[in-house]
Symmetry: D2
Amino acid sequence: MPSFEPRDPDFETRIRDSFAQQQMMHTLGARLAAVRPGEVEIALPFHNALTQQHGYLHAAAVTAIADSACGYAALSLMEPGREVLSVEFKINLVAPAKGEHFVAVGRVLRPGRTLTVCTAEVHAEQDGASTLIAVMQATMIAVSRPKNQIVEKRA
Amino acid sequence: MPSFEPRDPDFETRIRDSFAQQQMMHTLGARLAAVRPGEVEIALPFHNALTQQHGYLHAAAVTAIADSACGYAALSLMEPGREVLSVEFKINLVAPAKGEHFVAVGRVLRPGRTLTVCTAEVHAEQDGASTLIAVMQATMIAVSRPKNQIVEKRA
Amino acid sequence: MPSFEPRDPDFETRIRDSFAQQQMMHTLGARLAAVRPGEVEIALPFHNALTQQHGYLHAAAVTAIADSACGYAALSLMEPGREVLSVEFKINLVAPAKGEHFVAVGRVLRPGRTLTVCTAEVHAEQDGASTLIAVMQATMIAVSRPKNQIVEKRA
Amino acid sequence: MPSFEPRDPDFETRIRDSFAQQQMMHTLGARLAAVRPGEVEIALPFHNALTQQHGYLHAAAVTAIADSACGYAALSLMEPGREVLSVEFKINLVAPAKGEHFVAVGRVLRPGRTLTVCTAEVHAEQDGASTLIAVMQATMIAVSRPKNQIVEKRA
């Protein structure tokens, strides 16, 4: 894995602030577990409120932490003042999301001034064992702070 | 768009039962709006609990209703006794998810005995206008009822 | 399907010129069959030189015409002087590529100043019947003419 | 990277035979460079016949070797008598395909009795330097030998 030099020394603060503003992450119960240049880890404990029809973690929750891990991995290498949006992603759900705890690790494969390509892996942890349950390949875009953001709606 | 003949006359009941068991859909506030052979519509009102860092609907919520719409569109054409799992999907987020209300329509492109390929579109509705915000292409698989489902966890 | 207004009245000439420069399209035997604002059609006759191990058209050839149809559909809506590159695409191969003739139709789903999202369908034609064999979802980017192009290599 | 145990001791012969039957690989000038359990490498020299409009290697050629490397990586772990087909793949083209020589390495991420998930990386080599130009995530399916293959067409 390549090592990356961040362009913004405060990248971790910027990422933690942005994560804290995502109400969806609170709703899911997700937590920013590790922030490194080009690599971000998000942890999510199992909860009944997040299940699909067989009682496992819903693909939407798996996808949510994988996408966010990719997005913040990309943001960790962007210039100060930039924000990140997901252009698109593709996820393979390779095993049932059965576990007590889930961890998504997002990594930058190729950083760019506009577009950054990332991958993520999600593992389920149960009884001390870790199982790969999903892999993602994602394209992220650096944007200036959106002018028409609806901050008042979050109040 | 092709018209499909369902192999299970009770497909709608089967889909509504499965949807009702998805705790994640309750948590998001999503609703099964329409069920037709090969086409399923899921509606989701905006809620602060589902936002990303700019106050818009989080990509995870957009993805959740698109994936479920694809999955149930696939299930609508499967034989009785089969269930559906997402193998993989790819989503493009083509506009900010800004709206009062969101609708995902999933459609079967090609049904198969094992694999079914679907697409979904998600629109945001605000002030009477409807905007395309996401498109998905997904692969679903028909499975027998998983033996090791953790039903007790849902109790 | 939405109708689009081209920003460059000479879009068709621009696309035909670009297509003619793609040696790969000559090697495959592909032909630009139709060019409309936001929609491009590429035709490819079957040839033994393009087969996979079972004697059908190779996925690479199917992908080549789908990707090019998407790219030129995107280019048809771009400003004069812009060129198009594929950022990424995803393709589902939904039936064996068995036919005498293949047609890819690429359509713009959402045009943008930088990124354009497209879809394509590929049909196989045999004995008067047409079968859907592949569907693609693709992201294209508008670029200025690459400075470091290696035109001398094409001489 | 996990290490895999092949179920067929003759996996390499099986792959080399299948590759030799792909007329498309001959047309491109691609060569099977390495075959290991769960990992296959395909090499392709630059050729003018394979270029896009700027004189670089066409995305179709990049995709062809990545898809084949994934497919054969999957086949390397399948039971004797099985064949492999691509269900779908997604590729990000992360840098211009500018080089004298190209190498695709496909790896199995998760093998399965029916579906196998793979990734591939493609590098361009020029003047002794190697550059990542594409990454793929793919789903492969194990099939019995297709009954209706058109072997006579290859004669």
